[in-house]
Amino acid sequence: MSDTTTHSVSYVRESMLAETAPPVTETGAIKWMRENLFSSILNTVLTILSIFVVYWIVSKIGPWFWNSIWDAGSLTECREILAAKGMSSHDGACFGVIKDRWQQLIFGFYPSEYYWRPVLALLVFFVGISPVLFDRMPRKMLILTMLTPFVMYLLLWGGAIWLPLMVAAGFGVGYLAMKALSPINGLLGSLGAIILPLIFWLYLAGPIAGQLTSFAPIGFEFVPSKSFGGFTLSLVIGIVAIILSLPLGILLALGRQSDLPIIKYSAVTFIEVIRGVPLIVWLFTASLLLNYFLPPGTNFDLMLRVIIMVTLFSAAYIAEVVRGGLAALPTGQYEGADSLGMSYWQSMRLIVLPQALKISIPGIVNTFIGLFKDTTLVVFIGLFDPIGLAGAVRASTDWNGIYWELFIFIGVMFFIFCFSMGRYSLYLEHKLQREHR
């Protein structure tokens, strides 16, 4: 049989053909274009349309960027330079305004010799949160994280170092009270941990810090809140509010999950009321009404009022994010903690919250991005955020009439900040997903 098969086939190639190049339409750029751009009539139309849109936009605004003027001290000067080149004032951008005022747009009225302080504060912030954000960092760094807010306060506002030190000492007092009183009675311990620091802060911290300051005036030059502006203001409001709102938000989320109806419904009411009303209304409340709600004669600066309001605002949003994290935990975790005989706070502290918060971090970062973008609204109550400063720059005789250049600069800055943070939260989400599989 074997020979019949060999002979019944008329032709058998005995050697391999030499490799030839694939057809032109199946390789390289052409293949890629055919598959990705012109795979069907609809796709072709879409491609051509998209390319046309891109071309149209670039042809409209490209020359304006191309002809931009960077060396001008005022708008008039800039227009003269353009006119000397034979162009009208619409043909070229005047980015001279950015060169002239970029420090103001970024630092506001912060004293120029201390620009390093906000920059350092931002670096400290990044170092401080790195153990939270990247779990490869050593755990011991969490102690540094706790110190971060005080260091940042000191760097940004300055003043004597004793006051932030005393505030931090208050937490120490609470911790010691907890340690000392808990063995006697658990409840006494937690009460002491709350009340003693409060007493310390209210009645002792101020005078002690005052005494220490007069004794050893160590510290930085004090910079009042009014000097804050531009992106520094946006970042300070955003970061301070997010840090302060985290504990509050966690408490609210726990309250919303609580079995105790009064606690539950007051948490729900608070969250819904805050979330139901636009931030701009809350900001007007901070600026117009907060003084009504405080004891007569109380008065403190607008930035602090805004921070308080924004903190309450973001606490409600953080609460919802954390609630999502709590809900995502399998019930087994709660039951497991209960079956070990843990008290409510023990199970929350040791079992539930560490896991829930880890899931919530991307949501918290997204909340921060939203908050950071929303800080632009403070312009409507007279604070100099980047957009407010743009208005102030345009009110100077040099730059009156400038428009697009400032907004483009501000937009690009915001984009860089928000885009990179958004990428980070995306990376985190993917990582969490991988870990869950």
Binding site: N43, T47, S50, F284, P295, P296, T376, F407, F414
Partner: protein, 425 residues
């Protein structure tokens, strides 16, 4: 046999309030309640003291006083002699208008962008990625200002339309005028208006054509009756189909029921299309969509649309790949696969975050302040508060309005959400 004796009932001890979990919850709640009441009382007390110190009272009487300012976009009758309350109502309607328009277009833009971003076409998906990231990462306020300025810079002025050789001309056979003050589009008017044409300021050389509320009410009622009647026809044909297996052809009947009464009412009212034309400084007649409305609407839709696009994309990606592969295996075309297989499943993932985007859009409409769109924050929360000095009352009303609106939207949407969720299981 030993008899079971009831264990002695322990007398209630005060310490149980702290140590016994049954009572402890009551204790905690009572303490919380007392603290809360004290806190609220403290705030109210402060407010009363502060008001007294400033010599102000707390009453809403200012709402009845004449407002004294004009509002450009008014959906109901309003002039400067009417009350602050009326001005607030005009603002409320304007807020609702831009919120509804914004939600609709944001959804359309978001769905298209979300689907296109998953397209295999490289250029298209990149372009959509640029759109989504660009809008998501720059503050909405900046977009509103930029779009508003771009519109007023790049569109022609009304006077460019004038002269023998105008620099600009109306589009769509001279019925729509696109200017840098907004867009004028034709409107429906009624020559036999129920509210009479005398009230309408007549323009030289053109007969006055009113479009009163009564006319629209009549048309609305007619359409409603038609739709109910169509419902009857359809349920009847469903019954026949169930009984005989053949569905009777009724499309011409349905069309007739819809069109004929409408046409009769239209004829009776003398319905005509009124096109805008240039007179004096501006176009007149027609409906004027102001720049402030368009800029706000566009910015809100594009901004929220970029978020919705991401939601839609995530929703589609959440549908397992097997579903689309199975659909393709059955020979379904990509379009039908998307419509019949993927989107219905993706909706379950999409709807809840979509609701919160609608809420955000509604709240963000308060950024109207940046372009001078006269929403409720601009009328009640802006000029009224500023002219009367009633910030406490005004802000309370304003906050209350937004709160009620948000709760309303979220409860309605949650209702729909629950229904779709239930049906799928």
């Amino acid at each position: 046999m030993s008899t079971l004796t009831d264990p002695p009932k322990p007398a209630f001890r005060l310490s149980q309030l702290i140590y016994d979990t049954r009572y402890r919850s009551i204790t905690i709640q009572l303490v919380a309640l007392v603290l809360m009441v004290l806190g609220i009382g403290w705030l109210v007390n402060n407010t009363v003291q502060n008001l007294a110190a400033l010599g102000k009272d707390f009453n809403f009487g200012f709402l009845d006083n004449p407002a004294g300012y004009d509002i450009n976009q008014k959906l109901i009758d309003y002039d400067s002699q009417m009350s602050h309350g009326r001005a607030a109502l005009v603002g409320i309607l304007n807020t609702l208008l831009v919120a509804i328009l914004g939600c609709v277009t944001a959804t359309v833009i978001g769905v298209i962008a979300g689907v296109l971003r998953l397209s295999k076409n490289w250029v298209v998906s990149r372009l959509m990625a640029v759109y989504v990231e660009g809008f998501r990462n720059v503050p909405l306020l900046l977009w509103i200002i930029l779009i508003f300025s771009i519109m007023s810079e790049s569109m022609p002025q009304p006077r460019d339309f004038r002269g023998d050789e105008p620099a600009a001309s109306m589009i769509l056979s001279d019925s729509v005028a696109v200017t840098n003050r907004g867009i004028w589009i034709p409107r429906l008017g009624f020559t036999n208006s129920l509210s009479g044409n005398e009230a309408v300021a007549s323009v030289e050389g053109v007969p006055a054509v009113a479009s009163g509320g009564a006319d629209w009410a009549l048309i609305g009622v007619t359409l409603l009756i038609s739709i109910v009647a169509i419902g009857f026809v359809r349920s009847r044909s469903t019954r026949i189909q169930e009984a005989t297996g053949v569905r009777p052809t009724t499309w011409y009947l349905q069309l007739g029921i819809l069109v004929i009464p409408f046409a009769i009412v239209g004829l009776f009212l003398g319905m005509t299309v009124v096109t805008p034309f240039l007179k004096g400084f501006n176009f007149t007649e027609g409906t004027h969509l102001r720049n402030s409305l368009i800029a706000l609407w566009l910015a809100l839709s594009l901004y929220t649309g970029s978020f919705i696009a991401e939601i839609v994309r995530a929703g589609i990606l959440a549908v397992s790949k097997g579903q689309s592969e199975a659909a393709f295996a059955l020979g379904m075309r990509p379009n039908r696969t998307m419509n019949l297989v993927i989107l219905p499943q993706a909706m379950r993932v999409i709807v809840p975050p979509l609701i919160s985007q609608y809420l955000n859009l509604t709240k963000n409409s308060s950024l109207a302040i940046a372009v001078g769109y006269m929403d409720v924050r601009a009328t009640l929360g802006g000029i009224t508060i500023n002219q009367t000095g009633r910030e406490l009352e005004g802000m309370l009303l304003l906050g209350g309005f937004y709160l009620v609106l948000s709760l309303l939207i979220s409860s309605v949407m949650n209702y729909f959400n629950n229904r779709t969720q239930l049906r799928e299981r």
